[in-house]
């Protein structure tokens, strides 16, 4: 964010020095709004509020055409300022496809790699993590999460050991579609976690009752999966004109509105929409810039989306 302001100040000084004041208007207007970031509470490290998911969209097997398209999605994501990419061994070929894309892009330095461990036997966790790391082609993961609480006690022990040994930066747990929230909150209350990942969107807001307040209280970063209800929300809203209030928060698409609704909740660190379309990846990153809706506008978004879907 600092960099953008510096850039603008330099531009202003240069133009004024040249006596061409009239030129700065368009130049400043063209400069993008700064990227919205949130700190990871356990470290203070800043993350852009929009990341990239890979469920379904990156499971394209060894299809060279689809892999090239996924690479373009990742390229557009980084060009838009994105950092966090999330995957899982449960997602078929998604890890290998991410690895392919990252290799093509020479592993951007800003990458924040988030993956999961998902295997019933705790003893097999380390081997699965190593296989995942190889597929990504990264020296280590930034974040590893226990996927859907599967064998969570054993896996959390492994992940905490990896973190202590400097082979991992952050540890988390995940759930989706509102599953096992009771057990999830108990783990949040008792275990030292850096991240939790949950499903949250305009129509699925159960986590607002307990999980999000608890995350704030326990200083845990929150990643949001299924922000579009696996495409159902964007599909239902397709073709419906954007209400006038969308312009107030700099949104040009429903996808951006849905993402801004999510990331305007203060407890949320990052939402991870998945897409196989490079243009959509860039469009989603647009939700990480400009103003966010206030409480009143959040209510209007909620009402309008409910009415239109």
């Amino acid at each position: 964010m600092q960099g953008v302001y510096e850039e603008r100040r330099s531009l202003l000084r240069a133009v004024l020095a040249g006596g061409a004041y009239a030129a700065i208007g368009p130049a400043l207007a063209a400069a993008p709004a700064p990227l919205l970031t949130r700190p990871i509470p356990s470290s203070g490290e800043l993350l852009p509020v929009v990341g990239l998911g890979s469920w379904i969209t990156f499971n394209v097997g060894d299809d060279p055409v689809a892999r090239a398209r996924c690479t373009e999605v990742v390229r557009a994501f980084f060009q838009g300022g994105g950092r966090l990419i999330d995957s899982s061994p449960m997602y078929g070929s998604a890890q290998a496809v991410i690895g392919h894309a990252l290799a093509q892009l020479k592993i951007p330095k800003t990458l924040f790699s988030a993956d999961k461990v998902w295997i019933g036997a705790g003893a097999r966790g380390p081997a699965q993590i190593e296989a995942s790391r190889t597929l990504w082609g990264v020296p280590r993961f930034d974040l590893l999460q226990v996927h859907n609480l599967l064998a969570w006690e054993e896996h959390l022990r492994t992940l905490q050991q990896m973190k202590a040994a400097g082979r991992l930066r952050y540890v988390g747990i995940t759930t989706s579609e509102g599953r096992r929230h009771g057990e999830f909150t108990k783990i949040m209350e008792t275990q030292p976690l850096d991240f939790v990942q949950i499903s949250y969107n305009v129509l699925d807001r159960d986590v607002e009752n307990r999980i999000l307040p608890l995350a704030r209280e326990r200083k845990i970063a929150v990643i949001v999966n299924r922000p579009f209800r696996q495409g159902d929300l964007t599909e239902a809203l397709a073709g419906k004109p954007l209400p006038g209030w969308a312009a107030e928060i700099g949104c040009t698409t429903w996808a951006q509105v849905l993402l801004k609704f999510i990331v305007s909740e203060p407890a949320i660190t990052c939402a991870i929409p998945a897409t196989s379309n490079p243009a959509h990846a860039l469009e989603n990153m647009g939700a990480a810039r400009g103003p966010l809706p206030d409480a009143a506008l959040r209510r209007r978004i909620l009402d309008d989306v409910k009415r239109l879907t």
Binding site: I56, G61, A66, G92, A151, S176, E177, S276
Partner: protein, 221 residues
Amino acid sequence: MSEWWTYSLSDLLMFSKATYFRLFELHNLALWPGQLLALAVGIALFACLWHGGAKAGRSAALLLALAWLQVAWSYFAQRYATINTGAPYFAIGFALQAVLLLWLASRRQAPRLTEVVGSLGKLALGIALLALLYPLLAPLGGRPWAQGELFGLAPDPTVAITFAALLLWRARLLLWIVPLLWCAISAATLVELRSGQAWALPVLALLAAGARLLAARRAAA
């Protein structure tokens, strides 16, 4: 998956409709000109079903066994496994059915095909013909021809023509289990993908199984 009962069908579907159908295109490209051989085997199988009798029944069982093995190995194990972690289990199921068909073909008493005279025979031949025309579903569904699913190379048309043979063999329940299971899995996948052809295989299965049950009831009466 410890909490499998909390998952819905859509949670288990891990690929998109475009990826699923593109897989057939890649499969066809990789196997070309194997389609010509598959078509020849399909026509030979159809001729066996038309001809009827014990010798044709044995040949049909052998041809079908080869088709099921081919689908198990080249489609499920080599292709579908790249996007579906469940594919190796489907490969095992298809290999098992191939073994059952080989056992049927190798029995001393050949599996006799009912001669195509009555409505049951005509229905079976109709199902077999539709199975051979299965690739047409791709252009009919607005997809490229290259994504056509062929008997012997793709599971659904292979299962469809097997229903015709099972009907004409008046086969025991044991031989119907894997085809019916696959029919349920395929239909569920296509329904979740919101594909218009989700109904195709279940309709053929219902016709074949319904006719088989009716024939069994008549025989018992």
